[in-house]
């Protein structure tokens, strides 16, 4: 069991600053996902926690104790690597056993614990194989087992699923979730995949250029992104983002873009006029056949997915404006047809030219 605290943590490689004054407290038993695009400093942060990188400034604390000068092996952590990093010259059993041998656990107990862990992750049939005889998914399970067996207080997972195909990724994601619930240990998970972050995390830490952009539960992050970057990064399909401007007209505030205009709700009244980006999630756009709506756009593409249909509209910019319609009612819509759309005003987001949220994030679910 461990609480992990990062206090003003920084890391520079020469002149390149990878992590800037990062502070974060991770509760015991929490599943925290560090997420962000490549080069945002998430892996560097994880490696500083593990002890593979020395921070340029700041502290890493485990259960209140500063561990900056502690070797990785003395921190009581376990790590699963992106490349699995199995020892290629040892059998699966020897791989799993390695950590126990280093801790001088007697052979009979080792054998028993290896068996238990192998059962837990479902690789008992692989114990006598070599790593190169295992598939990608099996290798990742072996890597998990090798870490699990040493019973670490915290699991560090560095993009553990990114080398696997989509189906396996979903399977192992569920596996990670199950392990977290069974073991009730702290998990710190690094990924660039927002979907992984959304499904696994108790709390998501969004990073960009070495800094934390937003911390929150998956729903908070999804519903109330603090800025353009977070709004754009989360969600698949991602949020519709339309550049335009805020205009004040006779006591009312409106959003105006080259292809449509829209009255904004009351709480945007204080927003200053000028350039802005309007954001709305595809599921908050209602499409009606021949009905009335606030805006009207031509259809560019129709994607029937079975459960839903994705409608791509031409909003005068390179990126399409997307709406989700339940079922297959809209699957037959002709390309080029103009359709009426209405936007759920309570869900509208506005972003200033610098990317910051106008009107600030509001609690999820409140109007």
């Amino acid at each position: 069991m461990a609480c992990i605290e990062l206090v003003d943590l920084s890391k520079a490689f020469g002149t390149v600053v990878a992590v800037k004054n990062l502070s974060l407290a991770i509760e015991d038993g929490e599943f925290v996902v560090l997420v962000g695009p490549s080069g945002c400093g998430k892996t560097t942060t994880l490696r500083m926690i593990a002890g593979f990188e020395d921070p340029t400034a700041g502290e890493v604390r485990i259960d209140g104790r500063v561990v900056n000068d502690l070797e990785p092996r003395d921190r009581g952590l376990g790590m699963v690597f992106q490349t699995h990093a199995l020892f290629p010259h040892k059998t699966v059993k020897q791989n799993i056993e390695f950590g126990l041998r280093m801790k001088r656990i007697p052979a009979p107990e080792r054998a028993q614990r290896v068996r238990q862990v192998a059962d837990l992750v479902g690789i008992s049939h692989l114990l006598d194989k070599m790593p190169n005889q295992c598939s990608g998914g099996e290798s990742q399970r072996v890597a998990l087992a090798r870490t699990l067996v040493t019973n670490p207080s915290t699991f560090l997972l560095d993009e553990p699923l990114s080398n696997l195909d989509a189906k396996l990724r979903r399977e192992l994601r569920a596996e990670c979730d199950r392990l977290h619930q069974t073991l009730k240990r702290t998990f710190i998970y690094v990924t660039h995949d927002q979907e992984e972050a959304m499904t696994l995390a108790d709390r998501i830490v969004v990073m960009r250029s070495g800094e934390i952009v937003q911390i929150g539960s998956p729903m908070e992050i999804y519903s109330n992104p603090v800025n353009y970057f977070v709004a754009d990064f989360f969600g698949s399909p991602s949020m519709n983002l339309i550049a335009g401007e805020i205009v004040h007209e006779n006591d009312a505030v409106r959003f105006r873009s080259p292809c449509f205009e829209l009255a904004l709700p009351e709480h945007f009244k204080t927003a200053t006029s000028g350039a802005t980006t309007l954001g709305i999630r595809p599921e908050h756009v209602r499409v009606s056949l021949g009905g009335n709506g606030e805006i009207e756009l031509p259809v560019r593409l129709v994607e029937p997915l079975g459960r839903d249909t994705l409608l791509y509209f031409d909003a005068g910019v390179a990126r399409a404006f997307i709406a989700i319609s339940a079922g297959l009612d809209m699957a037959e819509v002709k390309i080029g047809a103009r359709m009426a759309l209405s936007l759920d005003r309570r869900r509208l987001c506005l972003f200033a030219a610098d990317g910051g949220r106008i009107g600030g994030p509001r609690r999820a679910g409140t109007a």
Binding site: M79, P88, H89
Partner: protein, 292 residues
Amino acid sequence: MMRKSQRRRMSAIVRYLVLTVWAVIAFFPIYWMISTSFKVDTQWFAWPPVYFPHPLTLSNYLNVWFGAEEYAATQYAISSQKPLISLLNSTIIATASTFLSVLFGSLMAYGVSRYRILSEARMFQLLMLRMIPPIVVVAPLSLYYSALGLLDSMTGLILIYFLTTLPYAVWMTKSFIDEVPREIEQAAEILGATRWRTIFEIVLPLIRSGLVATFLFILILTWSEYLLALIITKTQVTTLPIELSKYQGTTEGRVYGRQAALSVGITIPLIIVGLMIRKHLARGFSFGMVRR
């Protein structure tokens, strides 16, 4: 005009012809060495040359390796019993110095690869040490050696061979260590392994093909080294290359048959070692051998 298939056949014929001629040039000396070692003394210099010795005799071997006078057709017994001791000396000296060289070389290479204890420039300077002709250092070296009591001793030769081959060992093993992913080491580290444990249990076993290739390369160098052995050793410790040179003395002339029998004995151990480790050699010499 030749047709395409004819042209292809012609080029194949030419290619094999060239290769055959080349193979004959390359292998003839080896054949000549082996056949001469089985010739009686009258055939050593015979003209026209004798390509297939008849009668076959073992007298050269028995004389050279076992000092057996009764088998000597002539009076060319130069040293009795000595070559066997030289073989033992050579084996001990070459194996020990090569082992030390590969062991310390790979540890140094690990430091260079992971901790950058030597810059690129320093690594080159290390290799440049080998560009100094040995003859330049031999005189001062023998002075030091005489002061230290290392002249004419196995320790002396082992030490100098170890030091002179160390740069090769560092260079060769570094290229293999560079290919071991850092993450594999870090996985071992976070599982509780110390640095030394990681090196000996993870890194070195992973590059074993490379180590074997390096070992053989350096073994060949030390096995056949002549100049340093000639000057640093005199009578107590002789190695095989020095022994070989004794068979062309000024008084006896060239005793080809004996020399050939000795040469065969010098060559065979290397061939045996090469065959034993050929699996590793193929992998070790084709760099990029570490499978993830």
